[in-house]
């Protein structure tokens, strides 16, 4: 089980240069991501980055601060506001043997590059055999009062595209190890960083240059016996908090962190259900055809005999993420919603 700590302050927007770990050696999720990028850029000169304002400015969230000074504008490329072309350029350069990592200023703007992502990037290898080692990364998710166009969880759209691995880490170590794996992977990968986590969560993160976390493997972040909470991203932290509260009341919830939402690690999920016989599928993506739909359907299909209660889904309604605190709080699943759902399931 990973050790994590929730910072008191809000995420804010201030700069925080790469590599600034705490004295104890802890790294935030953001720093862990910057480290992964830095190390892979050092390791393999085919790796380069492109995106809006990632150069001198260091990126909207300052993930790439300091990179252009070290690697130059040939490998840290500021692009125009042209997302279709950012993706297309990544693809074309990958076809010629480079290993692009494209930053989207917000994951929301991945919809502006949707056609190149789903029509070219996701399908090209299946049709023609040309490997496309492309990583698309960007900050996703809500909870930071950024409203509809800066809070999206686009993972269901891209997980349905077929040919792109979709990664949604919740912890700094996982983020670092998975991003390094994604950059080394010969297939297209989408790496969705959760902006609520960026500066809130820190932990001791491995420093070995070959520290990798495998893509497509879930991780049990807390063992439990009564109910399995299957989740990913920021919701992992909500689930862990709920599990802690539930433990005080004598209930034992297991928290499975998917880490990769596509391909899905069915084995780990099913093993957990075999143990607990009860599943709460928790996802920050909209309920209708959100990641939870696939997880719930898979459990229903493959763990039917083990289930002692219906598979329950907890996720936001199918509406744009609203701005006002009262609305966003009502929109997002909260810790108490999770506790209530676990209690309902336990009572079945």
């Amino acid at each position: 089980m990973a050790k994590a700590q929730v910072e008191a302050g809000a995420a804010g927007h201030g700069a925080e240069p790469r590599g600034k770990r705490t004295e104890a050696g802890e790294a935030t999720y953001l720093i862990a991501i910057a480290e992964a990028l830095w190390e892979e850029m050092e390791r393999d000169e085919r790796v380069y980055m492109l995106g809006e304002d990632i150069g001198a400015y260091g990126g909207a969230f300052k993930v790439t601060e300091g990179f252009i000074e070290r690697f130059g504008d040939g490998r840290v490329m500021d692009t125009p506001i042209a997302e279709e072309t950012i993706v297309g350029m990544a693809v074309g350069s990958a076809m010629e043997g480079m290993r692009p990592v494209a930053e989207f200023q917000y994951a929301d703007f991945m919809s502006s590059g949707f056609d190149e992502i789903t029509t070219v990037l996701a399908r090209y290898h299946y049709r023609s055999g040309v490997p496309l080692p492309v990583v698309l990364r960007g900050p996703s998710g809500g909870g930071v009062r950024a409203s509809s166009f800066h809070s999206i969880n686009p993972e269901p759209w891209f997980a349905h595209a077929g040919g792109i691995k979709v990664i949604c880490p919740a912890f700094p170590s996982d983020a670092k190890g998975l991003l390094k794996s994604a950059i080394r992977d010969d297939n297209p990968c989408m790496f969705l960083e959760h902006k609520w986590i960026y500066r809130r969560i820190k932990e001791i993160v491995p420093e070995e240059p070959d520290f990798l976390v495998p893509i497509g493997k879930a991780d049990v972040k807390r063992e439990g016996s009564d109910v399995s909470i299957i989740t990913y991203g920021a919701m992992v932290h909500k689930a862990l908090e709920a599990a802690e509260n539930l433990a005080q009341r004598g209930m034992s919830a297991e928290v499975v962190d998917l880490r990769t939402v596509y391909p899905l690690d069915e084995d780990t999920v099913l093993r957990s259900i075999e143990k607990t016989s009860r599943a709460l599928v928790l996802s920050e993506s909209y309920r209708f055809l959100g990641i939870g739909a696939e997880v719930a359907a898979t459990i229903a299909e493959k763990a039917f005999e083990h289930l002692d209660a219906p598979v329950e889904r907890l996720s936001p309604p199918n509406i744009p993420v609203p701005f006002s605190p009262t609305l966003e709080d009502a929109f997002l699943p909260g810790v108490s919603d999770i506790e209530a759902a676990v209690e309902r399931l336990s009572a079945w």
Binding site: P80, A82, S111
Partner: protein, 350 residues
């Protein structure tokens, strides 16, 4: 297909009372911008701010050329244009604080505002420049119905690199739609300078690629901006098709409240603040022409400050939306937008 830097029009293109209104708007937008930034820095304003300071000449100038029935499709940077179009400051400020009396009932924040039913402004969407094609559609409706109305869309210099910009202008040219395309060239897209956005000296000259007139104006001169916009609006209204207007200024502040804009050369900024201040320029002219006295200006400033205070109070005392309403109004048949909204309890700050 003229592409020229217009000289300041020294005549009086508008009646004095409208000129005074322009001065009021410039002062209002400037004051609003400064005060909101101060509140943001004090941690008293939630969400984001996108300063339009230094670009008021562009925003007030172009929007002043529109009639109430004409529609406006702005971006995050263009709140001053929406205020010019007539939006109520109280409701705008309620939006910033996420309150139910905001135009979008708390569903969106900051300058992502709009008032379609009232002042015919499109509720801003972040994705750039996603409202350009939508403006085509409004203009299409006017043309088909023979309405003598015009749509105007604004976006920034950086947004011109995006495919939608090209598609919308191209389509408007084919069908000679009554639309005015404005580019607020404030020389930066976030941290990215013009040279990394396009490979030509000006944006206005790109109008030639669409067979439409293109004009480049000095955003520091609100009258020059207004004159170009008026000509374009009149042309569109009389079925003369679209126009591209590039109005050049500088973004005086960072991209958003959190950005110190260290990438911007100090001298550039200082030059603009000293010599290309659209508010000061216009005020000086108004005083020189004797249209206003120093006393009038003071009065305007007082009015502006009063309105800001009132807006602030209004926003603070407006309740938050009812949490239980969060799922309402996705569909028209929910009736949410045609009924009184639930007002969710107490306020935070007042």
């Amino acid at each position: 297909m003229t592409t020229e830097l217009r000289q300041t029009d020294q005549g009086r293109p508008l009646p004095d009372d409208r000129l005074k209104h322009v001065l009021y708007l410039l002062r209002l937008c400037r004051y609003f911008d400064e005060r909101m930034e101060a509140l943001y820095r004090q941690g008293r304003l939630p969400g984001a701010i996108y300063s339009g300071r230094g670009q008021e000449g562009t925003h007030v100038g172009v929007a002043s050329a529109l009639e109430p029935d004409d529609s406006l499709f702005p971006t995050h940077r263009d709140l001053s244009a929406q205020l010019t179009k007539g939006l109520d400051l109280n409701r705008v400020m309620a939006q910033y604080w996420g309150r139910i009396d905001g135009y979008l009932r708390g569903r969106d924040g900051n300058s992502h505002v709009g008032d379609w039913f009232g002042h015919r402004t499109f509720a801003v969407i972040s994705h750039l420049p996603i409202a350009y094609p939508v403006a085509c559609g409004a203009a299409l409706a006017y043309k088909r119905r023979g309405d003598k109305r015009v749509a105007m869309a604004i976006c920034g210099d950086g947004s011109t690199s995006n495919g939608r910009w090209h598609e919308a202008i191209n389509t408007s040219s084919i069908h000679r739609l009554p639309v005015v395309w404005v580019v607020n060239n404030n020389q930066y897209a976030y941290s990215t300078p013009n040279t990394l956005e396009f490979g030509v000296p000006t944006i206005a000259e790109r109008a030639a690629a669409y067979g439409i007139p293109g004009v480049r104006v000095d955003g520091a001169n609100v009258l020059e901006v207004y004159a170009a916009a008026k000509e374009a609006v009149d042309r569109a209204r009389s079925d003369g098709g679209p126009t591209l207007i590039e109005s050049v200024s500088l973004r005086w502040r960072g991209h958003a409240g959190h950005d110190p804009a260290k990438y911007m050369p100090r001298e550039l900024l200082e030059d603009h603040m000293a010599n290309k201040d659209p508010v000061k320029n216009f005020e000086t002219w108004m005083l020189a022409e004797g249209i206003v006295t120093a006393g009038d200006v003071e009065e305007i400033q007082k009015r502006v400050e009063g309105e800001f205070e009132a807006g602030f109070e209004f926003a603070q005392s407006s309740p938050y939306p009812e949490p239980g309403d969060v799922t309402k109004g996705l569909w028209v048949e929910d009736g949410y937008w045609t009924s009184e909204p639930g007002r969710g309890g107490g306020t935070e700050a007042s």
